[in-house]
Symmetry: C2
């Protein structure tokens, strides 16, 4: 598949502005950003030069995946041999220094990932070079200059191209198949793990996923008092049995070929109580107020304010314990993903930015309700990608 021309020119513009000769990245999400190919294990290295050439050093057993998703120049390397023991670090050293010599990066200014980072799970287990790549380059080419480009990469990832947005739409559509099973899946007497497993199965089995090379996700179920703990930075399914009267929160992070969603829906088991009805009305009104406020040029903190003031009006201000959202797309949940829809955010909305909108009310010991959508900023307003 050809490299996304819009993404390619944005990266090139950033490199010229920052006077970088090349970007050398190995985190799966960053390789995806630079090349269109989402590595599985995490040993691939992408090099993007100021001439706009895109190279990938790819372990030979990921070559087919890389070829189908990127027109970058691929150089396969062998991550291991049957009759010699190698580590990813020793396996990459020769191919990396050869490629850098071949494309004249021996005295270049190179941007690399360096600071704290966040990666979605691209497989059950993933490799990371940590500082090994920089060590190899510095050892081989003493004149090379290495700069940390973490913030620049974060900015590049914020706004999606037309092609990337379309991939996120398909990913959201596939995720909906998991949530479609909620009516059947949530029943009193079932344990949270049983409900999560059933929804997960429905997601995994959707034939919509045929459009993807890799489609998978994580479904979490939190019920009753456990749903109140969903205000944390992570979700957790437990073995609690769901009872009549409970709030039951389903949270999912699903992905298609490296593009992620972050979705939550909450149901009541049996007829909702008056309190639950008031919570839902406040959340849906807050959601609508946030959506109405979204358009290019708006301050992200105003979007948070729009939702938060509705929840405050309904008396639920103290129970809305986190920011309204954060960038979503290249990672499922990254509270530092741009734009940060947060009371203290300095970010300003731009066309193509994708983020979640997650108004919520958490009562400790009682339960939590959250409704989390993924949205994109359009020329004139907002598109909700999770229309279900």
């Amino acid at each position: 598949m050809a490299i996304d021309p819009e993404r390619h020119s944005r990266i090139l513009a950033m490199m010229r502005e920052e006077k970088l000769d090349a970007l050398v990245c190995s985190s799966p999400t960053e390789v995806l950003l630079l090349t269109g190919y989402w590595p599985v294990i995490g040993t691939s290295v992408a090099i993007f030069t100021r001439e706009g050439e895109v190279h990938v050093l790819v372990p030979s057993d990921e070559r087919e995946i890389a070829e189908k998703s990127s027109s970058a120049v691929l150089t396969a390397f062998s991550p291991g041999e049957l009759y010699a023991l190698t580590t990813p670090q020793t396996a990459i050293a020769e191919p990396l220094t050869s490629l850098c010599t071949q494309i004249s990066l021996t005295a270049a200014t190179i941007g690399m990932e360096r600071e704290q980072g966040l990666q979605p799970a691209s497989y059950a287990v993933t490799a990371s070079y940590r500082s090994a790549l920089a060590d190899i380059l510095r050892g081989a080419f003493p004149q090379i200059e290495i700069r940390a480009v973490d913030t620049l990469l974060e900015r590049l990832k914020a706004s999606k191209t037309v092609i990337e947005l379309e991939k996120m739409r398909v990913t959201a559509m596939i995720a909906s198949t998991g949530f479609d099973a909620m009516t059947e899946g949530i029943r009193p007497g079932l344990r949270e793990a049983e409900i999560a497993g059933f929804l997960q199965m429905n997601f995994e089995r959707t034939s919509l996923a045929r459009q993807m090379q890799r489609s998978y996700g994580f479904f979490y179920c939190m019920s009753g008092p456990n749903s109140a703990t969903a205000a944390a930075a992570y979700a957790r399914t437990r073995q609690r049995e769901v009872c009549i009267g409970d709030l039951v929160m389903i949270h999912a992070n699903t992905c298609g070929d490296g593009y992620w969603t972050d979705i939550t829906r909450t149901r009541t088991v049996g007829e909702p109580s008056e309190k639950q009805t008031r919570m839902r009305e406040a959340i849906m009104e807050a959601r609508q107020a946030a959506l109405d406020s979204i358009r290019p040029g708006v301050h992200a903190q105003q979007v948070d304010r729009a939702a938060r003031s509705v929840l405050e009006k309904h008396g639920f201000g103290p129970q809305f314990k986190h920011g309204l959202g954060h960038g979503v797309g290249f990672a499922a949940a990254n509270t530092n993903g741009r734009p940060r829809i947060h009371p203290a955010s300095p970010d300003i909305l731009e066309v193509g930015m994708t983020f979640n909108v997650e108004p919520a009310i958490y009562f400790d010991e009682y339960g939590g309700m959250r409704h989390c959508d993924v949205v994109a900023v359009t020329n004139s307003g907002v598109e909700v990608l999770t229309q279900f």
Copy 2:
């Protein structure tokens, strides 16, 4: 829960031998090794001193999980605030330098993870400090000396304690519930993703998992020609429909509270052909030969040889394309995990080592068959943890 005394004294012995004043680790698996607590997001930092004190800086919303699994001294920090934007890197700087000052590590020799590493998925998305922790420490304490201890950690993880082995047994027992569903799950006309989803659901729903704080896994299904690609470093479920006569391979990596399994079983759809019967007989004979060869003091490469020579005798030598196994436990699949059961391995088996035994035959375009167990070295021989 108290810290595993056997693990604690092994770590201490290694530190004294290496003349280290402290270990400072943040990868979830290494925090588990040092403390018994398996972090979710990856922002926790464990410090193990030469006096045997164990400290953890834990994000406040993981405090409950840490308390239930470790008696380390916990210091909670806030990973984010509602009215201030912080990054994990800025959030950890003050608590980390305070703690190091408090326990007198300001001019210490410290071991840290530095080189290429491998982590199992502890959540849908995980954070990594990359070089940030070392940068913070060097900035705050110019007299500190930082050493890479990656190889030492790899060695420590190879042999499991009595308590860790028991956790691996339970994890393997839970994994069996996914495989129990194979008979019902594999039917002609179903797509690989449908089969994998069904097995995944059965695994997620087992009530055996009540013994764990977190239990989850990844199930993969590869059928027909796709099963031949399972010789790669990763498994991949596709949308292919399973047909009569196919080999259908189910691969799973499952975990309980940070301890992982690596399991494969292969079925034939309908009556096995003569070729398939010959393949299975050779694989089961190779497996038995490998198991018979395992005991403390044996060279790991002899175990590979035991299985490989059986497959060669049956004419399947060229089709067995990888080493017989690798360390399993703290990660699901780490071809560099000790002991490496590989033709070129320098490793020698020790009591408590856990690894997989995965004889396999792959015919390109036709299909692959693999049988992968997790085993432990006992005083007198071997224990198969995946007895199903």
